[in-house]
């Protein structure tokens, strides 16, 4: 039974491996193919030797962890040292192919009138006539000169000649046609009335790895992802290339990028700190009130106060966006009715930040309340009895007994909560989208953007073009900070020691 299961599992896995391998070979993705091969060998090894037995259980989870967590991190590091982004999307081969496909109109280009015929097989025949009346036949990308009275003309006459209307309808098909005139020149459609001779503009030299402008003789050398002339002119588009630490230099050295980045950075820290502080203070306060066994309706208060936490955060954020609506939102209506003025919640940088903190307080205080209630219940009553005997006031009891003991269990969770809010993308994005924008920023940065939403906008929705390279550089900065916070937290809680003990 066990043997059969093992055989079937391994067989199925190998079928999947072979299936993917065929795809990869077909797509000429040889590097990935080699990696797959190694993975397949390892899998077979794990399944065949008895020593590999425990690893079978780890295989699925580890596979996805490596593919979707570990590999993306490594790839992020790689992209951060490249110029990947708008203007540098394609790889070098694709860009060269594009340049070699570029043609310019010959300066003194003659115009050829043309007629198009469709044969019974629906393929097209072109008949060109120059100003002197000499005729050329265009067919399958080749042209042939025709003598007067060439028999082919008789043949053409038997085909269907496209009318003016049909020509206009077939414009796309026609403008895609090109006929080799000689080695570097082509006959292409110029307008609806004529074809002309076009010159190939660039030729790529494989040995010297240079692009040569055939008209001017300028030589372009690939530098940092662009073909560049000796005078520094760059050809567009550029290609994907490793450019070293340029993204980091821009991040820390270009005032129009550094300024907004620093302001985003500072707000990220403020945001995470304020979020933890406000939710914790309110949560602890409510927990202390609710922990009182004499309080009537405790259970009701508790279950109702938890409700905001039970609603998916993305829905809550969108709801609050409606409540904060400056013209029509209920919050401003109430303010109008009571104090007679309204607040530009989402338009003003300061008030947008206040709105975010209020929303996050609403979202987060129940969590703090729950964990504080749990922690309070674990503090023994003897402590307080002893304190009462010594004549301590309530505040002294709180300050010297409750808070220190509470911090032991809740402290690490506050640190986790800090790093969670540090990367709390959805709340920021769904309430303010990072707006209002910072004026004069070269990158899409807003006053309420935190690092993660700033990265997202750099990568996915900048109107001025996407910039994967810079986005990945910012991501690495976030990695470093999040990593440092978590490391401190691990030291604090002894999680690393737990790992050692568990072995």
């Amino acid at each position: 039974m066990g043997k059969m299961m093992k055989g079937i599992t391994l067989g199925l896995l190998n079928v999947v491996f072979i299936w993917i391998a065929l795809f990869l070979l077909n797509a000429e993705a040889y590097l990935v193919f080699v990696l797959l091969l190694l993975g397949a060998l390892l899998t077979n090894f794990i399944f065949i030797t008895p020593k590999g037995y425990p690893y079978r259980y780890l295989l699925p989870a580890s596979f996805f962890m490596i593919l979707l967590v570990v590999y993306p991190i490594i790839y992020t590091v790689y992209i951060s040292v490249t110029n990947y982004g708008t203007g540098n999307i394609l790889n070098k081969e694709q860009v060269i192919a594009q340049f070699e496909e570029r043609y310019t109109l010959e300066p003194s280009a003659e115009q050829y009138a043309f007629q198009v015929y469709r044969d019974p097989q629906a393929s097209l025949w072109f008949l060109f006539t120059d100003a002197q009346g000499a005729q050329l036949l265009g067919r399958d990308g080749e042209i042939t000169r025709l003598e007067a009275g060439d028999p082919i003309l008789m043949q053409l006459a038997a085909f269907h000649e496209l009318s003016r209307v049909e020509l206009v309808q077939a414009t796309n098909e026609l403008s895609a046609q090109s006929f080799a005139y000689d080695d570097t020149r082509e006959l292409r459609m110029r307008n609806i009335n004529s074809f002309s001779v076009y010159l190939q503009q660039y030729s790529y030299n494989v040995e010297s790895d240079q692009l040569i402008d055939l008209q001017t003789g300028t030589v372009y050398t690939p530098i940092n992802g662009y073909f560049q002339a000796p005078d520094g002119t760059r050809l567009s588009p550029g290609f994907r290339a490793v450019i070293g630490f340029d993204n980091f230099r821009r991040l820390f050295g270009n005032p129009q990028i550094t300024g907004p980045f620093v302001s985003v950075f500072v707000w990220t820290i403020q945001w995470a700190l304020l979020s933890v502080a406000t939710t914790f203070v309110v949560g602890l306060f409510l927990a202390i009130l609710l922990n009182d066994p004499h309080l009537r309706l405790r259970k009701m208060y508790r279950s109702l106060l938890i409700l905001p936490y039970a609603i998916p955060a993305f829905i809550s954020a969108l709801i609050w966006r409606g409540l904060f609506n400056t013209e029509l939102g209920v919050i401003n209506q109430i303010l109008q009715a009571t104090i007679g003025s309204s607040v530009p919640w989402l338009q003003d940088p300061f008030w947008a930040k206040v709105a975010l903190i209020i929303l996050n307080l609403w979202l987060g205080f129940p969590y703090m309340m729950i964990i504080c209630l749990g922690a309070l219940q674990s503090i023994g009553a003897e402590m307080y009895e002893a304190a009462l005997v010594d004549g301590a006031t309530s505040w002294q009891q709180f300050r010297h007994i409750t808070l220190p003991l509470l911090m032991v269990s809740v402290g690490p969770l506050l640190v986790s909560s800090f790093s969670f809010n540090f990367n709390n993308f959805s709340v920021i994005y769904l309430l303010t989208r990072g707006r209002p924008p910072i004026v004069g920023a070269q990158t899409p940065a807003g006053h309420t953007d935190i690092l993660i939403s700033y990265t997202y906008r750099l990568a996915f929705e900048s109107g001025r073009g996407i910039d994967y390279g810079l986005a990945s550089a910012v991501t690495l900065v976030i990695f470093l900070i999040t990593g440092a916070i978590t490391f401190i937290n691990f030291r604090f809680t002894g999680a690393l020691e737990d790992v050692s003990k568990n072995v």
Partner: protein, 285 residues
């Protein structure tokens, strides 16, 4: 610390609690009220709707341009599939970590811990490009497919889940498995027939935490999914209401109520378990 209350002392406490109760519940009540308000706009809404009706709810189900009910279904299907797969994979890994001694076990546990340090969404750019190239090889796992999105979510199968589950498995005595193995059971049979049934509570907790997390996930769903009929609720609802509060508030409110309901019910039902999971470090998405 707590003394018996005098009347006024008690009153003061209740007053403070009511202030927070209003803060906590007002947005919820306001939205529920809006969902029954046929006017479908922020303008002139009151907490008890005039001419209450179900037209907004009807719109959620019949609108062809904005198939909100379909988005809720998509979110639920993606959430259930992801959670089921994660529970299977995590329990396998946790079983190995808990019951076997092998080379690399310590490093494996350590890696599972480290993975949490780097939230997956930070590598959104890389993952987007990865799914893009996977899609070129296997189109059904590429951009704008639910399978591709689920694939990305499966990256989280290791990590805090594996730790929580391993901790629970460690508390199950090995004697049961040992006697089963004397009777000729394989380790896999012991896992399947003894550990899994005994570990049902933790399996349920991981399943639910994962479900709630996946249901609410926004960043990957918005980056990877681009066609309306495939949106999850998180993406669709955002696009639906974006800057249209004046004209779509009622339908949005109905969609919010319907969309939040499955999670709120799950949450209330399993509060006890979830709270214990939360205090051990899991943070809701």
């Amino acid at each position: 610390m707590y003394r018996k209350h005098t009347f006024f002392r008690g009153l003061w406490r209740h007053a403070v609690l009511w202030v927070f109760l209003i803060f906590a519940l007002f947005p919820i009540l306001w939205v529920i009220s809006a969902s029954f308000n046929p006017a479908n706009t922020l303008v002139g809404q009151s907490i008890i709707p005039r001419n209450a009706s179900l037209v907004n709810y009807k719109e959620v189900f019949v609108s062809e341009q904005y198939p909100i009910a379909l988005w809720i279904k998509n979110s639920i299907v993606i959430g259930l599939t992801t959670s089921a797969l994660v529970v299977v994979m995590t329990s396998l890994a946790a079983y190995a970590f808990s019951r076997f001694r092998f080379k690399g076990r310590r490093q494996g546990l350590f890696a599972a811990l480290l993975v949490q340090v780097f939230p997956q969404m930070l590598a959104a750019v890389s993952i987007y490009l990865l799914v893009l190239s996977i899609g070129k090889l296997i189109p059904s796992l590429g951009i704008n497919t639910h399978a591709g999105l689920i694939l990305v979510y499966l990256g989280g199968a290791m990590g805090v889940n594996a730790w929580l589950m391993k901790g629970y498995f460690d508390t199950i005595p090995t004697s049961l498995e040992e006697s089963a193995m004397i009777d000729g059971a394989s380790p896999f049979q012991a896992y399947y027939m003894i550990i899994l049934p005994l570990a049902r509570p933790i399996l349920a907790v991981i399943f639910l935490l994962q479900f709630i997390g996946t249901y609410s996930e926004f960043i990957f769903a918005s980056v990877l999914i681009s066609s309306s009929e495939k949106y999850t609720l998180a993406v669709g609802l955002q696009l639906f209401i974006q800057d249209q509060y004046a004209s779509r508030w009622g339908v949005f409110a109905a969609a919010s109520v319907l969309g939040a309901l499955p999670i709120v019910i799950l949450f209330m039902f399993l509060q006890k378990y979830l709270v214990s999971g939360l205090t051990s470090g899991a943070v809701k998405g």
